[in-house]
Subunit: 219 residues, 2 copies
DNA sequence: GTCTATACCGTGATAGAC
DNA sequence: GTCTATCACGGTATAGAC
C-alpha cells in the first residue's frame, strides 16, 4: 500500500510536469521555455525537474515520447485495414492519406489540450534540422517507412524518389494543419480558424489525394 | 567623406551582424541563440547588437525584413505576367504555383547561404503562433492576399474557404520544402537530400497543381 | 558615432538538510 | 521524495570612455 501510494504521488508529479511542459513548449519551443517557467506554472520547486527527469532536455524527450505509441498505433491500425487496389489508385491513396492524417487531425482537435499541444510541438520539431536525429528520426522512422512502403506498392512503376516526395508532401500538409498558427484566421479575416480541423478535413483530403495521384502518376 | 566612411563602416558592422544572426537563427531559432553567440561568432563585443539594433528582437525583425522586398517582387513580377484562363484552369494553377513557389525554391538553392538561411527562418516562423501578428502577418499579408485573390478568380464557383485552404496547402508544401530538415535524407537512406530543390521541383509542381485542381474542383 | 567594461538578473544543475 | 541554498554561467542592457 505504501509503495502503491508513493508510486501514485510521484506519478502525478511526473504527469503534472509533463503536462505543464507540454503546454509551454507548444507555445514557445524548447529554448523559449526555462525549467523555472515550467515549475512556477506547476507550483513546484525547480529542482523537481532535475529529480524526476534529470535534465530539461530529458523532460522534453519524455514529452515527445509519451504520445508516440498511441498515435502510431492509430495510424498503423488504419493502415493495416487498407487493401491496395492497383486498379483503383485513387481509393487506395485516399486510404493511405486517411490512415496517416486523420488520426493526427482527430487527436489534435478532439483529444484534449494535451494532444493539441503535442501536435503543435511535433509540427515545430519537424522543420528543425537539430531535432532530426535524436528525436524525429529515432521516434518516427518506423511508421513513416511503412507509409512510404505502402505508397511504393500502390505505384509500382513510379520512381522511388517521387514516392518519397509524395510522403513528404503529405507530411507537410498534415503538420502545418495541426500547428495552429492562426495564419488562416488572419488571411480569411476570421472566416476560418486554424483550430477548426473539421472544416479543413474534406479540402485537405481532396488536395493530398489529388496531389499524390498527380505526382505519382508519372514515373 | 567622413560621413560616407563612417556610414560605410557602420553599415558593414550592421551587415555582419545581420548575416551572422541569420545563420545562427536558422540553426537554433530565436530563443536558441543568445546575443553573445552572435557577437562571438562575428568577433564583436556583445553590446554592438544593442547599439546597432537596440535589442535582440529588433535584430531578428531586421533579419526578416531585409529580404522581404526581393522575394515579394520576384513573386509578384511572375504573378503579374499570368493570364487567368478559365478554360484551362490547369495551366493557370501551374502559373500561380510557379509564381509563388519557384522564387523561394530558387533563392533557397541558388541565392547563397544568406537566402538559404532566411528561408529556413521563415519556415520556422510560419508554424509558430507567437510570430503571426508581429512578423508573418505584418510582412506577408499583402502578397499572400494577391495569390489568394488570383486563386479566387481562377475558380469562380469554388467556395471562399476552399480557396483559402488551397493557399494554405501551397504554402505548407513550399515552406517545408525549404526548411532543409534532413528528414528525406534519413528516410531515403541518403538517396535524396532536403537541400536538393532542383530534384524536388517537378514532383512538387505536379503535387501542388494536382492538389489544388482537386481541392478547388468541387464548390 | 562607436566600442569597452560592467551591472544585474535569469539559467540549468546540484548538494545536502529534512 | 521534496525543499532550500547555492553554484557557475550565460542572458540582455546600459553607462561612460574614447
Amino acid at each position: 500500500m505504501n509503495v502503491k501510494n508513493s508510486y501514485k504521488k510521484s506519478d502525478s508529479v511526473r504527469t503534472l510536469l509533463l503536462d505543464t511542459a507540454e503546454t509551454l513548449f507548444a507555445e514557445r519551443g524548447f529554448f523559449g521555455v526555462s525549467i523555472r517557467d515550467i515549475t512556477e506554472e506547476a507550483d513546484l520547486r525547480n529542482a523537481s525537474i532535475n529529480y524526476h527527469f534529470k535534465s530539461k532536455e530529458n523532460l522534453f524527450l519524455a514529452v515527445i515520447d509519451r504520445r508516440i505509441a498511441p498515435l502510431s498505433e492509430a495510424r498503423l491500425s488504419k493502415l493495416s485495414k487498407l487493401e491496395i487496389d492497383l486498379l483503383q489508385p485513387d481509393r487506395t491513396v485516399r486510404g493511405i492519406v486517411e490512415a496517416f492524417a486523420l488520426p493526427m487531425l482527430d487527436f489534435a482537435e478532439n483529444g484534449g489540450t494535451g494532444w493539441k499541444n503535442y501536435c503543435i510541438i511535433v509540427a515545430h520539431l519537424a522543420v528543425q534540422k537539430i531535432w532530426n536525429d535524436n528525436i524525429v528520426s529515432a521516434k518516427y522512422d518506423d511508421h513513416s517507412r511503412q507509409f512510404i512502403e505502402t505508397l511504393r506498392q500502390t505505384f509500382p512503376s513510379t520512381s522511388d524518389h517521387r514516392i518519397h516526395y509524395c510522403f513528404q508532401f503529405l507530411l507537410s500538409a498534415t503538420l502545418y494543419a495541426v500547428c495552429d498558427n492562426k495564419r488562416i484566421d488572419t488571411l480569411s479575416n476570421g472566416a476560418l480558424r486554424s483550430d477548426d480541423l473539421t472544416r479543413l478535413r474534406d479540402p485537405f483530403i481532396d488536395f493530398t489525394v489529388g496531389g499524390i495521384l498527380s505526382a505519382a502518376g508519372q514515373p
